[in-house]
Assembly symmetry: C2
Homo-oligomer: 235 residues x 2
């Protein structure tokens, strides 16, 4: 088989297509991470123009997801074997998580333009810290995907509890500001939603980590994971 | 070819597997719709026990998504042709949207137990109306998927603007209650998040509608769609 030049040509081309798929998905992830960082920056700098650019950029991420779907179709039509198929399935799922992360970044940018019509908020500091955690998780899991590193993927999964705890603390803090002064309610509601989105980005990073596990280890079940987002039960 | 009994056996079995995949995905959708209805009911009746059942049931939806992924793997390994492959890709994407809808229903149930520790809220009425709209969209899109009805799928897509408009109105209403009395802030924040989740369920129904289009029509581009969720820009 290995000596059949025709066959080798097909195999090589499949590998090339597969590498292209991985690179596209990683590029999509990098775009989402950059969007997220820009959104946090724009929130801090109160820059409407930059916010609009972030919102417009989200289309490029969506377009890349379509391209990935298209490549997945092409690859799947070639009847891949088990490991290759896991590669394809992981790419399509990871692309879908990244697409959501991009949406959350664009949503934060959108809310920042509303916040810019109101006086500056000191509460933005806690949000930035949560945002930094979310970016860190995202970049780590993309690296785990790039290098097929299950240990790194596992540490991202474990790290989500820290994101959840930071979110719950910020949630409670924002509620107290809202209670202190009704004028804080509208701006802090936007911050609450942005905070929730950052917490959700942590969940999507965890999903990606689980797909890296699935990709490398196959159907093996994952070890259990701690959850610390207790904001749902705040009274 | 058609006279080869061996070949026919393979073809028939593939169709059976594919029908199984569709039925599993529809069953998953039905479970999510039932969970959503129960969550709305539990919010109205302030029933902690029923809320706990909804939260526990979410695992069954997640398990079904895993089963669907497994079946998708098995089918894809058989090297399907273009339309069959679209069927598979649509199933995996639709299952992922349904999984999120199930999460949102469970999250509403979780928040209802927190709300039950506080005095009853009259604002629950507007939330129920939004919930009814979300359930309607979900059931319609599942029917469109079951019957491959692109027109019905298109009407679900168009209907999302109504969900968005209802959400934006409710969002503004809830903010006024929070401003009127600081004691409303914590409970109304939970309602705000539940409302946002219902709006997101509308978005997932729209995603499913777009997958029905993709499934039936292939890569043809979709007509543009109106967006009416203006809550991101409320000041």
């Amino acid at each position: 088989m290995g000596t059949n030049p025709m066959n080798e040509h097909i195999v090589k081309s499949y590998d090339e297509e597969q590498r292209r798929l991985l690179n596209e998905t990683l590029r999509m992830g990098e775009m989402a991470a950059a969007q997220l960082e820009s959104a946090l920056d724009v929130l801090a700098r109160r820059d409407d123009k930059a916010a609009e650019r972030i919102i417009a950029n989200d289309e490029a991420i969506d377009a890349l997801e379509n391209e990935i779907s298209h490549d997945v179709m092409k690859l799947a039509l070639r009847g891949p074997m088990a490991r290759d198929l896991r590669e394809i399935l992981a790419a399509i799922r990871i692309a879908s998580d990244i697409e959501r992360i991009g949406d959350y970044a664009a949503n934060a940018a959108k809310r920042s333009t509303a916040l810019n019509l109101l006086p500056p908020l000191p509460q933005i500091v806690g949000l930035q810290a949560l945002g930094v955690l979310a970016v860190k998780q995202l970049r780590a899991v993309l690296e785990a995907y790039r290098t097929n590193d299950v240990d790194l993927a596992q540490s991202v999964r474990a790290g989500d509890a820290t994101v959840d705890a930071a979110y719950t603390a910020l949630f409670r803090e924002l509620l107290t500001y809202m209670m202190e002064d009704p004028r804080n309610i509208t701006p802090c509601t936007h911050l609450l939603f942005i905070a929730k989105n950052l917490e959700r980005i942590g969940d999507h990073a965890t999903n990606i980590a689980e797909n890296v596990w699935f990709l490398v280890r196959g159907e093996e079940t994952l070890p259990p994971r701690e959850k610390r987002d207790l904001s749902n039960t705040v009274t």
